[in-house]
């Protein structure tokens, strides 16, 4: 087994026992990247020299001492680009660290590599990157999911030990499902958003991509907690998320939302998820049917709220303070042309939609109504959580789709997020973990199992995921690249 394919916890043991060194780990990654990234295209850039300097001085006794972590190109790391997959930020260099980066550094980790993504995290396939799409390591003709597709792909292709992504409507869980890795979206307010380039501020949350559930717990340990620089981060206690791992599932109740098991789900996905649910029963969990009656409205609510917030957040890209500037002719022309030339089609679409739903006369009918339906969606979850500890369902209705399949049909693309969006609207935590494979055109494609937990109950979620993972072998299969 090559060094690059190790999990974070396995690498950590080897580092602590001096079997290997942070520089060797970095070099192993660099070699692996050189071999497979020309196909995967999971990275937009890497600063090997900077990472090596950190690796040489790493304190391996820290929780993540000497472990390189890949970072989605939407999170600021000082001295590195942060293009957000957009031409408008081509050439931008961050001059500060996001809080999660500061915390990772404090835990001894080494930020290494900028992961490709859908432009400004808008998309479900990474095809919206201005710098070319990423490929799914299980079948390069397919997408790795999105928007954090690069983060998922580099972890699945063993080009990274772990990565950070961001999840606004499923952007961690959906690519994790497509690429066969573990992806965790923490509860809104669990992790600081400071330094994360904002897409939809009431939904965005940073979270880890890892090869194992234990690794997800390790990363969450490092990045959780209140941050004075993010007023929406909460002062909830941060437990040791590895503490619950290995506890048995006696007395645990899992809710199967009937609205998530509908016709239209790929039969192989459906079968894999149902098998996983039976497996949980065999582990001692009780399965209860629950209802989330407003599920069908989630996509509509999301595309109002997320685009509305995006249209406001992206107003800052106007050619004044950073990024490219198209012209110096007049102020209004500069705004219009800079934005017109700098943003890609999906970002423009969402700015238009968001501006429309916030415009005078439409605010009440669209935005306010969507916020009210959001309340109903959140209530659905809260009443389900009165009966169950977590909700269990598919992460996506289908396995990874072919590149180009949906790029001309935004609505179809949006509906790919149907199972992940509600979790963001409710503001609770969710994760995806591998639960099997679909055989499509002779290729093995990963299937993701989604667990949605109560707010700030990530420990329970990780416990549940860990129990499943340790009693199955899915996570041991490596992408054939």
């Amino acid at each position: 087994m090559s060094l690059a394919s190790l999990s974070v916890s396995a690498l950590r043991s080897k580092l602590r026992s001096r079997e290997t060194s942070p520089v060797e780990a970095l070099d192993a990654l660099e070699a692996r990247i050189g071999k497979v990234d020309p196909v995967v295209h999971g990275y937009l850039s890497r600063d090997y020299a900077a990472a090596r300097a950190l690796a040489e001085n790493a304190d391996v006794n820290l929780p993540l001492g000497g472990v390189p972590i890949a970072i989605k190109d939407v999170i600021n790391v000082i001295g590195e680009p942060c293009s957000c997959g957009s031409k408008i930020l081509d050439g931008y260099k961050a001059n500060y660290d996001a809080t999660v980066i500061r915390m990772l550094r404090a835990a001894g980790a080494i930020p290494f590599g900028r992961c490709n993504m859908d432009e400004f995290a808008m998309g479900s396939s990474t095809e919206n990157s201005a710098f070319g799409r990423s490929c799914n390591p299980w079948d390069p003709s397919r997408v790795p999911g999105g928007s954090s597709g690069g983060s998922a792909a580099v972890v699945a292709a063993n080009e990274a030990f772990a990565a950070l992504g961001s999840d606004t409507g499923g952007s961690i869980r959906q690519p994790a499902a497509f690429c066969g890795c573990v992806g965790l979206k923490p509860t809104y307010g669990r992790v600081s958003r400071f330094g994360l380039v904002a897409f939809a501020s009431s939904l965005d949350q940073i979270g880890p991509f890892t090869k194992t559930v234990e690794d997800a717990a390790l990363l969450l340990n490092a990045i959780s907690g209140r941050d004075p620089l993010d007023s929406t981060s909460l002062d909830e206690p941060v437990p040791d998320y590895t503490a619950t791992l290995g506890q048995d599932l006696k007395g645990v109740k899992l809710g199967m939302p009937k609205e998530y098991f509908i016709s239209g789900i790929d039969p192989q996905v459906d079968a894999a998820v149902r098998a996983a649910i039976r497996h949980y029963e065999s582990l001692g969990a009780e399965i209860v049917e629950v209802s989330l009656p407003n599920t069908e409205h989630a996509v509509g609510v999301y595309y109002i709220i997320a685009t509305a917030e995006a249209s406001a957040n992206l107003a800052r890209f106007d050619g004044v303070r950073y990024g490219s500037r198209a012209t110096n002719s007049s102020l209004l022309e500069m705004y219009g042309q800079t934005r017109g030339q700098g943003f890609g089609p999906e970002v423009k679409r969402r700015i238009i939609l968001g501006t429309y739903v916030l415009s005078s006369g439409y605010y009440d009918a669209f935005y306010l109504r969507a916020q009210k339906v959001r309340t109903l969606i959140r209530r659905d979850f809260m009443s389900a959580f009165e009966k169950v500890d977590a909700i269990i369902c598919p992460t996506t209705p289908e396995p990874a789709f072919k590149a180009g399949d949906r790029s001309d049909d935004p609505l179809k693309m949006y509906l790919a997020d149907i199972f992940t969006i509600a979790c963001n609207l409710a503001g609770t935590c969710g994760m995806s973990l591998p639960c099997g494979f679909a055989d499509v055109d002779g290729k093995k494609l990963p299937v993701g199992l989604q667990l949605i937990g109560q707010p700030f109950q990530e420990a329970r979620l990780l416990q549940l995921a860990h129990a499943y993972e340790q009693s199955t072998d899915w996570h041991k299969s490596a992408a054939p690249i």
Partner: protein, 465 residues
Amino acid sequence: MRAASTWTACPLREDAADAGLDEPRGDGAEDGGFSDGAAAAGFEDDERDLVLREQIAEAVGADEVGLAFSRAVVGLLEAKRADAGFGEVGAVAVEVDDVEGIAGGVGFAEQLGHARERGRAAEVEADIAPERIECIEERARGEPRVNEAGVARPADDVEDAEREPHRARENRFGRGELAADIDALGEAAGGVGDEFPREPEERAHVGGDGEFARLRLFEKIREKRGVFLCAEDGVVEFAAPAFRAALDAPRAHDRAAVGEVHVVFEIPAEVFVVAVVEGQREGRGHADRVAGLVFEMDGEGVLSRGSEEKPQFLHGGEATGADGCGRTFFVCRMKRAAIRARGNPPGRRRSLHGLTFSFHSPRLLRSHPRPMSDQFDVRYIAQLARLDLSADEIAKFQSQLGQVLSHVEKLNKVDVSGVEPTAHANHVVNVFRADEPRDWFSPADALANAPRSANGLFIVPKVIE
């Protein structure tokens, strides 16, 4: 009503006579929809009309600018209407992008005249869509015009003997044929006034058809954007930009999903609907049933037939088409009388053949725009967002986001009464920190990524012209 204190008020009578507006014409609206529409708008009351007139006179002022503008609008409408072959098209529209800009400028007719003289047509075209001007010029030359369907129309169809004297007549601007034409065509105002009382005695109360119609126009001038619409029965209506959809076929189909009939625009007597079917339909002989209505192509245009309606002919070519994605769309106009025949009073939402029509009076339509995708205008929104889009992008987004909005409209079916909005998943309020200085970006840090900077400042193009 907004006060316009900088505008001077002066008597209206003289200008009304000058524009030939004292010759009422075109009662129209035999189906009764007309008066019902007026009733719905609350204009049955003479007193109200008088108040309205006073308010308009006070607010707009009957100065040269306002009058010239109103005549121009009416003239353009009339020219367009004549050109289009009114019996067939049923309604025409003049788009006025920024009415106040014109009305507040040097006077529309003068502006038009000057621009012509100086060869600066572009300046005028920026204010009035070029085809409208072209339309007037062609009429002035007496040339037959090719209509939107690509069919050359005989000149006598366009020529209207009663207009000749007006065209020849000397006018106050003396700008030659074009201005004369505008002036003469102001006669059309005699036929406008959708809320105008039908009986002669009633008309006397408000000073004649023409004057009242112009008063209504002044009110309309004060709306910033929109379409002046002149319908078959002589109704002149100021409408929201949404009406463009009804005439702008490439965008009209965006509002309806396959198999649905979608109301794209309403005027007092008629409803415009768009229906979309799967597959390509070309040439004649295709019939499709959508939501209980028959849409039939006879090669020149579309017939829509409801079970209790006579076939309604809609103009050809322009109003039908394909979207390049295997769909064909029909835009049809339907008599509201046919709907009313079912005993549906105006002012309520009704269902006909599974279609939902909402009965707004023009006034209500204005003050309470329906917040639906048929009001969705990418071009306008892009301006708000300071986002330059290419023509291709506009067309594409209009179609794609129309579909997304149709999906989003399902939210209207959710009962949200008494539900608090969720702005945020975590209910935290008043997160404060100590107001103390701390180490943060230096000016150099802040400027490090600026496209242009100097002397510790961001440099931007000149803000004040």
